[in-house]
């Protein structure tokens, strides 16, 4: 692989766009994981994909339609106060149905539908880059304000009601930020590529990190490393970007977690073998009388 590809003028805009998203999406993913709403990413991505396709069919930028559809879904969810993954399951079903129906009934829909599902990052243009920059500029201060409130709401849920806090501001605010991020991500990286960047890095970080700051750092690091590797691999092997990104992230998560899994397996084997210091399974913990 040639690192010079990363700064080739032809690929500079797609690379910069994806890199920004690879920083932001895993951070959103960490908060979705904390709220046990990681399915949100997939639900919003489906809505965004349907909106983006409709937008493209009408001759408008994909980001515009994707943003409107995802924001609409996020706003409805926030306003009706739906929590948990059920709301997102309905978004997935609705978005999937709309995506395929739009693809089947518009002149360019079928090929564009495929492009959205596969994730053709290399076609990202200045509009996509502008959307990614805007997202990063909004997400930085928004996350700084939202994060302490969302963490406290998750770990000390009774405090909001007991102190009559205006909690809808940060819950709805985060729903809208997540929707925006997924819309920009889906239009640029494809449906599953954006979902993988939200889900996989945060999932790995939640298992490995020693604390919350390490979780955020590790999430972003896995996202960025995975993105850069996938960008080069997809170019070098002439493969669609989305599936390569998903594969690389899965491999990265696997390699990060492998030492942990091996340690757990070794520990389990030592217990089974009745090694010194480990009680045998099912064995009595009480010493027999001398």
């Amino acid at each position: 692989m040639d690192p010079a590809m990363l700064i080739d003028p032809l690929f500079r805009v797609p690379f910069a766009t994806g890199l920004l998203l690879a920083c932001v999406l895993p951070l959103i993913g960490a908060l979705l994981m904390l709220r046990e709403e990681w399915l949100a990413a997939l639900g919003l991505a489906h809505l965004a994909a349907a909106g983006a396709l409709l937008s493209l069919a009408a001759g408008a930028p994909a980001v515009a339609g994707g943003l409107l559809a995802a924001l609409g879904g996020g706003a409805v969810k926030g306003l009706v106060g739906a929590r948990g993954n059920a709301a997102y399951a309905f978004m997935i079903l609705g978005g999937w149905s709309a995506l395929l129906l739009i693809a089947a009934n518009t002149a360019i829909g079928d090929s564009l539908g495929h492009a959205l599902v596969e994730g053709q990052l290399y076609f990202a243009g200045r509009t996509d880059l502008a959307a990614a920059i805007a997202l990063a500029l909004v997400a930085a201060p928004a996350l700084a304000w939202l994060m302490p409130r969302l963490l406290r709401a998750r770990l000390f849920p009774r405090d909001e009601a007991a102190n009559a806090l205006p909690a809808h501001r940060w819950h709805l605010g985060f729903d809208l930020l997540a929707a925006t991020a997924m819309a920009v991500g889906t239009a640029t990286l494809g449906l599953m590529g954006a979902f993988a960047l939200v889900f996989v890095p945060a999932w790995a970080a939640f298992r490995l990190a020693s604390g919350w700051r390490a979780t955020l750092t590790l999430s972003a690091a896995v996202g960025v490393v995975g993105f850069v590797a996938a960008f080069q691999l997809a170019l070098a092997l002439d493969q669609p970007f989305g599936p390569v990104l998903v594969g690389v992230l899965l491999a990265t998560a696997g390699s990060v977690l492998l030492p942990d899994l091996l340690r757990a397996r070794a520990r389990s084997a030592r217990v089974d073998a009745g090694a010194p210091g480990w009680p045998k399974p099912g064995g009595s913990q009480v010493r027999p009388p001398p």
Partner: protein, 197 residues
Amino acid sequence: MDAGTGAVSRMLLELDSLRAGYDRPVVGPLSMQLHAGEVVGLWGANGSGKSTLLAAIGNGARIFSGEIRRAPGLRVAYQEQRPVRLPAMPFTGRDLLRISGAKGSIAALPATLRDLLDRRVDRLSGGQYQLLCVWAALGRGAELIMLDEPTNNLDPAHEALLAEMLSRRSEERAVLLVSHERSFLDGVCNRVLELST
């Protein structure tokens, strides 16, 4: 009333003929006052409405009749019966206290809990986590602290530590404490209210 000076301490909370519950009234009618500096226990059989009473004060249950009057601007810390435990919680004890707003209380943390500051909370025992959550409630600067069954998951040593934490009284705040362990309440509270079914 302050026993030493005779001065009346600030009233933080007043319940006036309160009846509260969810689909139907579970507790009350009940009237009481809570003043700064007090630690008040709520005791009663299962189903007597102890936790429901805390929930009603914390805006989490329905008021059927009567009234809850709070001191203006009263800040409340409410630790529910089962602290939130997620499948994976990448937070250290220090993170937990910082998130709760109790970061300033770390210096005064008992030595047993100080050892937990840099460990992930999902790798602590139920009792250790429970105590950290209680400390987070006590240390976040609230004037009214409500603790629902804080002795859950605690072995005798940790229960003694909880009693020591609660004995660090402050004249600025009051603690309302629900427990089914009468002897624990008698040991740490100024007074104990008994709720009947």
